[in-house]
Amino acid sequence: MNVPTDYLVILSAILFAIGVLGVLTRRNAIVMFMSVELMLNAANLALIAFARERGEIVGHIFVFFIIGVAAAEVAVGLALIVAIFKTKRSIDIDQVRGLRG
């Protein structure tokens, strides 16, 4: 595919921004978390684009690792969410504010 890298990067930026918005606006812990995944994915997109531009696959390696990390995060994150749900019977993050001040 023959597209200027900048376009791809801009697309990734858009996705990144949406991800950010998701974290900021959604109250469902899971959805927030999904938004984080979206942000990571945006990063992946950018990396692949750059890799393509430079014609070296180092970028691909990065993406591979990032996906791995994402998997790890998901494991822990979902575990946390489940645990919290068990105690609070809710994953509305706005309910989780016993600690403040």
Binding site: V3, P4, L11, A13, T25, G55, I61, E73
Partner: protein
């Protein structure tokens, strides 16, 4: 306007649309599904960018395993929709505003720089193929690879710790 361009725009539209839907749909399940859609679209983009292996990983691991896990948890907890009582009314607009600024700045930075020349070098046939990636992975990037494995191990332990109930009972 080349065909590539058209394809790209199409995919981009789909991806963004999916992302936005994920963002706005009230139900967590829909969000998850839209995210899967988004990932798949991106995977296609990867493919078109000669990143076959990664595209594959994206589909199987990301869109497949991870998102399924998400869905599974959502179902398990039966927590599709949580936004019942309104709280932090001012948060959303402010967030939108600031995020827009962020996006604007990023684009600004991109454009002030010299416009990225269209996909630079022509690449060999094997570019992005599993074996190419694999070789690099086990030569130059051995250390990160090991680290990732440890990372996953740690995450696993963590997940176990956090979810095994009875041990904590007996302990406390």
């Amino acid at each position: 306007m080349t065909t590539d361009m058209w394809i790209f725009l199409g995919l981009a539209l789909v991806a963004v649309w999916a992302a936005v839907c994920m963002l706005i749909s009230r139900s967590a399940v829909y969000s998850a599904l839209f995210l899967v859609l988004n990932f798949l679209t991106i995977a296609v983009v990867f493919l078109l960018l000669q990143a076959a292996f990664i595209a594959l990983v994206q589909v199987t691991v990301y869109a497949g395993a991870i998102m399924v896990l998400f869905l599974f948890v959502i179902m398990l907890l039966g927590a599709e929709r949580v936004e019942t009582t309104p709280s932090l009314p001012w948060q959303a607009p402010v967030a939108v505003a600031i995020t827009t600024v962020l996006f604007g700045l990023m684009v600004l930075a991109l454009l002030t720089g010299q416009a990225g020349a269209a996909p630079g070098v022509e690449v060999a046939a094997g570019f992005g193929s599993p074996q190419a990636v694999g070789e690099l992975l086990f030569s130059d990037f051995l250390l990160p690879f090991e680290v990732t494995s440890i990372l996953l191990l740690a995450a696993m332990i963590g997940a176990i710790v956090l979810t095994r109930r009875e041990r904590s009972r007996e302990a406390s």
